[in-house]
């Protein structure tokens, strides 16, 4: 039986004025799998993630998440996804707990508090859960963004640069979040510049260049020095 992709992107185009940020990306991601999005700056990784998060509408092409058209069913797609944006992602004068409360209320979650506390502890943010995030370091902000994306156990987990500036404990905790999500059958899309970490966390890797997909390979093919050379060749 053929597996149906949870995330199905066909010929996605995103245009901001004269700039075409995404120029015809095709992408499929399946339940229980983690897919890495790799590529240089400006390759279209973050824009693709924003489209999947329902933050940016596609200019052309079709995007479905769990069979829902992102244009028509944006609110439902947001219900199914958990998103860690590439920049910031935190309301500067709210505390981590207030972020979690907002997410829980809007997603109509009940009994979420224990899981939220557990995640905060795993990411070593338990001590600062009542402190406004404006004074957080970059790494603390990244870790909290992952917690916020994962707290409601979304069907699709979108992590955009979750390892950027994060210490080894935070990286480990993020790996655990990804592994847990895979184990419960969620689809994970991970955008990063850190190829080695992407290879460790994901089964598949998509390489984007100039707003389009140039390769889709098993993540292991990107491992080691051989993988580095292959990756480099795809970027040039």
């Amino acid at each position: 039986m053929t597996q149906v992709p949870v995330v199905d992107v066909r010929s996605l185009h995103v245009r901001f004025g004269d700039v075409e940020a995404v120029a015809g990306i095709d992408l499929e991601a399946y339940a229980g799998q983690a897919t890495a999005l790799l590529g240089r700056n400006g390759a279209g990784k973050s824009t693709t993630m924003r489209v999947l998060a329902g933050v940016v509408p596609p200019t052309a092409g079709t995007v479905t998440v769990a069979g829902l058209d992102i244009r028509k069913d944006t609110l439902e797609v947001k219900q199914l996804t958990g998103y860690c944006p590439d920049v910031g992602g935190l309301v500067p004068r709210a505390t981590p707990w207030e972020h979690l409360q907002l997410s829980a209320r809007l997603r109509r979650l009940t009994g979420w508090e224990d899981r939220a506390r557990d995640l905060l502890e795993r990411f070593e943010l338990g001590d600062v859960m009542n402190r406004v995030t404006g004074g957080f370091s970059h790494g603390m902000g990244r870790r909290l963004s992952v917690v916020l994306a994962a707290m409601h156990e979304p069907q699709v987990l979108l992590l955009d640069e979750p390892f950027d500036g994060v210490d080894p404990i935070g990286v480990e905790a993020t790996f655990e979040v990804i592994a847990d999500a895979r184990a419960r059958g969620a689809t994970i899309l991970l955008s990063t510049h850190l190829r080695d970490l992407a290879v460790q966390a994901c089964g598949t890797a998509l390489v984007l260049r100039g707003g389009a997909r140039v390769a889709s390979v098993d993540a292991e093919e990107m491992a080691g020095e051989e993988g580095a050379r292959a990756y480099r060749a795809l970027l040039d």
Partner: protein, 519 residues
């Protein structure tokens, strides 16, 4: 081929610049930063036209009132008699404005400036240049120039008098900046917050004492600005030259002196901001509804921000005290809500979506209807402006006695109309022209200086006109008149607000706004 220093070589040492060289470099840096800001102006042609319009208005108010010859000479004399107090007023306004904004506006935000070697002197000079780009400053300056022109009439002395007025404006702005940086230095020191608060309470107490003991007239007569004023009326004589020389020298000294407290303040941690950024807030029970939750988050973003807390206090309490000590009547008090609401909107409302900062991207992924987000934000802005306006009116009401039905009706209607008017305009502009702004610093503004001037001018004109109409209705012995005028005004503003809400529902528009404020 040598590739590195040997142990016997000495490394190049950095030679500290002399004060004069550092000052020259600071001036050059201001020019570079101004050029940088200029490049970021979106509608250059419009900005150029706007600058010419403001210049034209300034020349017009400095000349045209002198040609108006319908008032009796006693009226002109009365205007001239108030000039020394008005001159002192602009000095106080310059100080208050610069103190409230923690030393004045930033030519470039602290975060943007951090990678570059920009000295506190450059920062001080930049703030000084930006000080006049403020509608409150401009109106005061125009009033001063216009009053002098009206008082003197078309006379040979007009030009020489206006030279003194202009020099006074320069001096007052520079001196205000020195005081503001001095206060900021104290505020950033140990017990600084308590000290500055104590100082303001003492000043308010002194003002109250002067007013309540009926010594205001004597106080205003003894203000040293009279020396400058009479000098302005002595064209081209030695006295005039002395005044011009004193003001020019005083301005140069104030500009140079301002660098000293600026450097001192720059070495200290901004305590208010540090306290706010490390503040702890115990979890509270979640509100029942979605909009309630959104409102709570937005409310926290507003009331935990230093520029908003400080700004709203100055805005609400300042005009309230003026109304209290000036013994303002109820009919004149209708002018206050518009003034305060306009000022309040300039604290964050004109770029309302910047409250979320980079968190806007995450918030946009939350499954909430776009209209719910809009409603929450508009409501929080409304209550912020309403709280400030009510506080002002409350302070002013302490001495105003019991209003009659016409006055009460006019005041309530003004309050409602200007609030909806200002919220509508602010939400419209927030969608049309979003800016990536971090409102951490007390010196931060929600939009660039030129845009702020445009916003403040438009808000001032619309709310003042509305307030004047209701002020007139307060004198008509029919309280229903205000209500009858308020209903179509509210409907018009309400329809415009609803249209803006509809626009916010468009995903492409929302993506543009969110992408910009989170950049």
């Amino acid at each position: 081929m040598p590739t590195a220093l040997s142990s016997t070589d000495s490394a190049t040492t950095y030679r500290r610049q002399g004060h004069l060289a550092a000052a020259r470099r600071a001036v050059a840096d201001v020019r570079i930063l101004l050029q940088f800001r200029k490049q970021a102006v979106r509608r250059r042609h419009f900005a150029r036209v706007l600058s010419l319009v403001f210049l034209g208005i300034t020349v017009a108010v400095a000349v045209i009132p002198s040609l108006v010859n319908h008032g009796p000479s006693s009226a002109r004399a009365q205007v001239l008699a108030l000039m020394p107090s008005a001159m002192a007023g602009i000095l106080v306004l310059s100080m208050a404005s610069a103190i409230a904004s923690g030393g004045g506006r930033e030519l470039i935000s602290r975060d943007q400036a951090s990678p570059y070697p920009i000295s506190p002197t450059t920062d001080h000079l930049g703030a000084l240049l930006l000080a006049p780009l403020n509608i409150a400053w401009m109106i005061q300056a125009w009033l001063l120039l216009g009053s002098m022109a009206y008082g003197l009439g078309w006379d040979d002395a007009l030009i020489s008098a206006q030279v003194v007025v202009i020099l006074w404006l320069v001096f007052a702005t520079a001196a205000g900046q020195v005081v503001a940086w001095g206060v900021e230095t104290v505020r950033r020191g140990r017990f600084g917050i308590a000290l500055t608060r104590g100082l303001f309470v003492c000043l308010a107490g002194a003002a109250g004492y002067i007013q309540l003991t009926h010594r205001a007239a004597h106080f205003f007569d003894s203000i040293p600005t009279t020396w400058f004023f009479f000098g302005a009326l002595s064209p081209w004589r030695l006295y005039w030259w002395e005044v011009v020389g004193a003001l020019a020298l005083g301005s140069v000294v104030a500009v140079a002196l301002g660098a000293v407290p600026t450097h001192l303040a720059a070495r200290r941690m901004p305590r208010d901001e540090a306290r706010m950024e490390t503040s702890q807030h115990e979890p509270r029970r979640m509100p029942r509804g979605v909009v309630g939750m959104l409102v709570r988050t937005d409310r926290a973003s507003v009331w935990r921000s230093v520029p908003m807390r400080r700004g709203v206090m100055v805005l609400a309490v300042g005009p309230g005290l003026v109304a209290l000590f000036g013994d303002l009547s109820w009919s004149s008090m209708t002018i206050l809500p518009g003034l305060v609401a306009s000022g309040g909107a300039l604290l964050f409302g004109v770029n309302a979506w910047c409250l979320d900062g980079r968190g806007a991207l995450w918030r946009e992924n939350l499954p909430a209807r776009a209209t719910a987000l809009f409603d929450a934000r508009a409501w929080v802005l409304f209550e912020f402006l309403a709280a400030a306006s009510l506080l002002t009116v409350g302070i002013g009401a302490l001495r105003a006695g019991v209003p009659n039905p016409e006055e009460f009706s006019a005041l309530v209607c003004t309050l409602l109309v200007v609030l909806v008017q200002v919220v509508g305009a602010a939400m419209r502009w927030s969608i049309k022209n979003p800016y990536p702004v971090d409102l951490r610093s007390a010196r931060a503004t929600p939009a660039p200086p030129a845009a702020m001037v445009g916003y403040s001018a438009r808000l001032a004109v619309s709310t003042t006109l509305t307030s004047l109409v209701f002020s007139g209705f307060a004198h008509v012995p029919e309280w229903r008149l205000s209500v009858m005028f308020a209903i179509p005004c509210l409907m018009w503003s309400g329809v415009r607000l609803a249209r803006t809400r509809e626009r916010w529902g468009d995903p492409v528009t929302r993506a543009r706004v969110v992408g910009t404020v989170a950049a």
